[in-house]
Symmetry: C2
Subunit: 353 residues, 2 copies
């Protein structure tokens, strides 16, 4: 359960829009009874679905919007067509105006990021926002960022991501001092490209209130070696999708191996609960939700192809973020970063090679 608040939800986002979003509202209200929901979208499509809700109706205020952003709209198109009047725009705008503490949409990522950046603006010192994902690990969960917002982030941006990811880990995992690692291709200081080495040097030398662990490698993410893994958006996106692909691959292997003989089918039947537990653990819906960090307000992106269960999980994440003052934490940390940045960060990294 969480303190009272209001979540703004774009009802039109996702592959099937309101047909997925509206049924999820019962789950969201059941878990967060003190929260109100501002639901933005086409009233003609939303209203007929509301009578099927069991308990959420009294928590919902529908705000009709004439325009919906398509899943394939380019960000520039979406901004042109959707400015002011689309459900996506208005959901984010309600965070800016203070009507809501957080916005959630399963709409297309590029459009959502473009609108969120235009409406909420980046925080002081932040050039571009990042998208943070929750990564299941052998120890629990980690925050991994950026998973695709800022392609080709420089060292300073990686340091900003570290600060923002750390604040998010404190808010979502309620850790006092989460550990932060930089994703690299080896753990020695000389490994990797210049951007990662420079970022590592800044994080070591700046007297930040951050528990900087050092470099981590690709397999450290599954191990949960650190609470926050920082990387540039291109690599982070590929790592995230590679992990998803590998998990699917193994579950497919497992299913087909268990079907091969009568004996293994019987075994699978007896071990049913174990497989259910595994399936639940690996369920991508449980880890649904990419958090946009670095803006003056919280926006969470749900997977477009998820169902009501997955959308409600993204709402959980959104509400946790809003309940734990993550923006204030990030702002304080960025101010501290600004005061503590070592001058050495401007020097070339030649002595490292």
């Amino acid at each position: 359960m969480s303190e009272a608040g209001t979540i703004a939800i774009d009802a039109m986002g996702g592959d099937i829009g309101p047909a997925m979003v509206v049924p999820s509202l019962d789950l969201i209200v059941a878990r967060h009874p003190k929260w109100k929901i501002l639901l933005f979208g086409d009233a003609a499509k939303i209203e007929p679905l509301l009578p099927r809700l069991r308990q959420a109706r009294s928590a919902i205020e529908v705000r009709h919007c004439e325009v919906s952003i398509g899943m394939d709209d380019k960000p520039s198109q979406a901004l042109r067509r959707g400015r002011g009047k689309s459900s996506m725009w208005q959901a984010i705008e309600s965070v800016r105006s203070g009507d809501a503490q957080v916005a959630l949409s399963a709409g297309n990522t590029g459009a959502l990021m473009a609108m969120a950046t235009v409406i909420l603006r980046t925080m002081p010192g932040i050039k571009r926002p990042a998208i943070a994902a929750i990564w299941p690990t052998l120890k629990g969960e980690s925050v991994v960022l950026d998973v695709g917002a800022t392609i080709g982030a420089d060292a300073e941006q990686l340091v900003n991501f570290a600060v923002m990811g750390e604040a998010m880990a404190r808010s979502v995992f309620l850790l006092e001092r989460p550990t932060v690692g930089l994703l690299n291709i080896g753990v020695e200081e000389v490994k990797g490209n210049e951007v990662v080495r420079d970022a590592g040097r800044i994080l070591r030398q700046a007297k930040l209130p951050i528990e900087y662990y050092g470099f981590v490698e690709g397999d450290d993410m599954g191990k949960g070696t650190v609470d926050v893994v920082v990387t540039e958006g291109f690599t982070g996106n590929i790592a995230l999708k590679t992990a998803e692909g590998t998990a699917k691959q193994l579950m497919t292997y497992l299913r087909s191996a268990l079907k091969r003989t009568l004996l293994s089918q019987l075994g699978a039947l007896l071990a049913w609960r174990a497989f259910e537990a595994l399936r639940a653990k690996m369920d991508p819906r449980r880890h649904n939700g990419g958090v946009f960090l670095g803006l003056n307000g919280i926006v969470v992106k749900s997977h477009g192809a998820t169902d009501d269960f997955g959308f409600a999980a993204a709402a959980d994440l959104a509400i946790e973020m809003a309940s734990n003052a993550v923006i204030e934490k990030i702002a304080a940390d960025l101010a501290a970063l600004d005061a503590n940045l070592p001058a050495v960060s401007e020097e070339p990294a030649v002595e490292q090679i």
Copy 2:
């Protein structure tokens, strides 16, 4: 079975050196009875292990080397200390001289790559070599390169990797026209960074004898969408280790889920063969071996922590590569590439944005 030939093996590489390498020779000779083995290393450490071999002895010629390269030696140290007289150097040198068709070492990657580049030199048109890995997929196997040799490869280098990976897929998978994809964060032409977009444009426009598929994403690797996945070394290394980490994570979940109740333990017992099949499929030893591509000779790097079974798998890969004239295929393709490169490759990619 494979045509006759000679494989040069560095007996001193790997975490335990000869104690792992020598026992593997029985496996290698059993699978490739027509092949000879030149075994380079400290005779005092190798000779006592030979009597335990069952059938390999007659295929082995030990060549004593006074120096062994350590697993933690820096490439520059290794070159200084190991030039001419180390087992690693001499194994590679035997490929250059023609005594062997391929060299295999479980020694440290940086040292092996540095020596291989100094001794064998890069092929005409190749600036830097790549390391190619065999990636298990739902459809079979793919070649993924580069997994860590060339950090920050440019568009032209990615195109070279495509050509080399395609030739390797023809040699190892015996495919006539393997499909080639560029790893990216989306499949649309405008996605990704400039390097990937430029490489995609060259591959589309150059009239190469290559089946270029287009962009693929991280989860396409596990699916086996294409036979060859091309990426820059930093991202490729992180993707590879992320997949390994995720696979380990799932196997750990599965084991602990199956141990939880008596019923699931019984189920696991009945489905024993299915789990064995899964374990075998996921066994990293089966996919052991990183192939150095782009040099005038083939060098294969085995994982340093593998056992005799894993080392023999790397030898299989090495012998397949050598048996199928991969260097000649690459040379022919690079010549074709040179003749067909579009002039447009020099232009900036602004119109794409």
